[in-house]
């Protein structure tokens, strides 16, 4: 009786899962004149490999550092290294990811063959790192707020949860208006509340604000979901626990700290894991709002996997990203296992 469902799971979940592993070790393309070859870990090396280049300011004959018109030291161009196959084969065809200033005016340049991927990786991790605590915290705050015995409280619960049932695609479209640089609602509201002091920002067109803007919107959409999970955790705490705390004269903070929070431990782990998984699979927001831009500042792993695996028909590249994404998710959930086991 389990057969049909198992068959479906195996064909459409487990088989592609293992295929992703297999494909990530080849150079397969969707349509290709050349036969597929086994290339080992090449895809991963290409994506994850970084090399470090230390450049020093240029010197004149007298041994002084050359300065440009604004008084900044002049550095050799990174291009000189990456285009020069003969002298620097290790840097050939690589691109600059970022620079770090070291002492003595030296600069460390991190080079990679696949900067876009690394940016996607970094953005995805950053997204998860910020969204998880913020969303979980806000959700808990809302749950505590909703858990009060006030008249009509269910109306508020209904409203706070409403964005959850709306598609992320729709939400992303809507927020494109809100974040718009000229007529965006957010700018309007900010200007109103700051009495005109606020300078309008093109939230999604700016490398420094685009990712935070997407983070904020994601929290807005998902916080109700986790509020409900917190709420169901809160409601398993017997009323008598609170009554005991009251009789013993606990303050509101103490009650939360010593009665509520300890009972929520498992809920907390669950909430964190769900949010992390959702955060790692950041996709529709990017697809609808920025398509990775501006200047790759909002690239995400899933978006890159789709771009490569589908739009560029580079099946093996897309699969390799999938494998990395899966390993990330796996380590998170193993970490969760570890957390839950420790204290039981």
């Amino acid at each position: 009786m389990a057969l049909p469902a198992c068959l479906l799971v195996f064909t459409f979940l487990i088989l592609p899962f293992f295929m992703a592993f297999g494909l990530s070790l080849t150079n397969q393309r969707l349509v290709s004149p050349n036969p597929t070859e086994f290339v080992g870990l090449d895809n991963f090396k290409k994506m994850l490999g970084v090399s470090f280049l230390i450049i020093e300011p240029e010197m004149d004959e007298a041994g002084h550092i050359k300065l440009d018109n604004e008084g900044n030291p002049i550095y050799p161009r990174v291009r000189n290294f990456t285009r020069n196959q003969e002298d620097f084969p290790q840097f050939y065809k690589k691109r600059e990811w970022f620079q770090l200033g070291l002492q003595d005016g030296k600069v460390l340049v991190v080079l990679s063959q696949d900067v876009v991927f690394l940016k996607a990786l970094a953005n995805t991790m950053l997204f998860a790192l910020v969204v998880c605590p913020v969303q979980a915290g806000l959700a808990l705050f809302l749950a505590l707020l909703i858990n009060q015995p006030l008249r009509g409280i269910n109306i508020f619960r209904t409203i706070y949860f409403a964005p959850v049932v709306i598609s992320m695609v729709v939400v992303s479209m809507l927020w494109r208006f809100i974040y718009d640089g000229q007529n965006g609602l957010l700018n309007t509201l900010m200007q109103m509340f700051s009495f005109g002091l606020f300078e309008p920002i093109d939230w999604l067109g700016n490398t420094s604000t685009a990712l935070p803007a997407i983070m904020a919107m994601s929290v807005w959409q998902g916080v109700g979901f986790h509020m409900v999970i917190w709420l169901s955790g809160l409601q398993t705490i017997p009323l008598s626990h609170y009554e005991v705390a009251r009789i013993e004269g606990a303050t509101r903070w103490q009650t939360f700290r010593y009665v509520t929070w300890p009972s929520l431990r498992n809920t907390a782990i669950l909430v964190m894991v769900i949010i992390t998984m959702q955060a790692f699979t950041l996709y529709p927001q990017i697809q609808v709002m920025t398509r990775g831009g501006p200047l790759d500042s909002t690239q995400s792993l899933v978006f890159q996997a789709v771009i490569r695996g589908y739009e560029k028909q580079d099946i093996s590249g897309g699969s390799a990203i999938s494998v990395i994404l899966f390993l990330l998710v796996l380590s998170i959930s193993l970490f969760q296992r570890y957390l839950t086991r420790e204290k039981n």
Binding site: I14, A20, L145, L150, A162, T188, V228, S319
Partner: protein
Amino acid sequence: MPAHKLLGMALRYLLLIWIAMIFIFPIVFMVISSLKPDLQLLSDSSSLRAFLPVGDISPTNYLSAFDRAPILLFIFNSVLITGITIVFSLFLCSLAAFSFVFLSWRGQGVIFAIILATFIVPFETIAVPLLLIVNNLPWIGLEGIKNSWINSYHVQIIPFIADALTIFLFVQYFRDLPKDLIEASRIDGATWFQVYRRVIMPLSGPIIATAAILKFLMMYNNQLLWPIMVVQEESYRPVMLGLQYFFQLNTQWGEIMAYLTIITIPVLIFYLLLQKAFIASIASTGIKG
């Protein structure tokens, strides 16, 4: 009630209302804007008029949205795909859960563990190889034999029928049903399928509702990545892909708002009617912890 208590109460409500506005304003903006011509829409959004149905209010945007894209077709597609997936998912997943809980067969434990493990595989990570698979699967349909699943309804349905969460929800629920009932029906002479159909399913109302709602949210709202990959023909597109039509040639924001409203409001109404069940179904995913 003493004055300071009254004040505290008022403050709490103020906070609640203020937060409620944060959650509601984009939705209100969407609906209101869908009724305004573009020029007014843009100028209104620099003031609070953005949230008020003032000025030139008309359903024009809706009419031209229908002209621009075959909206009814998209809605039909989405509903069809979601509906069929839900029906098959409920049936096959509950059947699988039934056999995991009530029957004993070799390899049961291992297979259940494997299925549970797929829970942490995000769909996005397998989309690309899955594309390869469906691209090479044959299909026998009304129009004869095809050698690929691309551009069809079933390519959007079949891969999503069975999933770990649905099976798991049913397994949890079945485990809590009294075992005596099943034994009694065995003695009454029921076959395993009869036990499933006549005893277990009639008792599974709550979990069926939960699983259906979760599946609905997963399907209807997320039809983006996969359809982008496997559907090129207009006639099989779901609503989320319909958005593309509104960005070709002179983009009309009012029309976009109208389209967003059309595809969102039914879900919201559905939610408002069944909100207890919606919220309970999300809460029940929390039992896992």
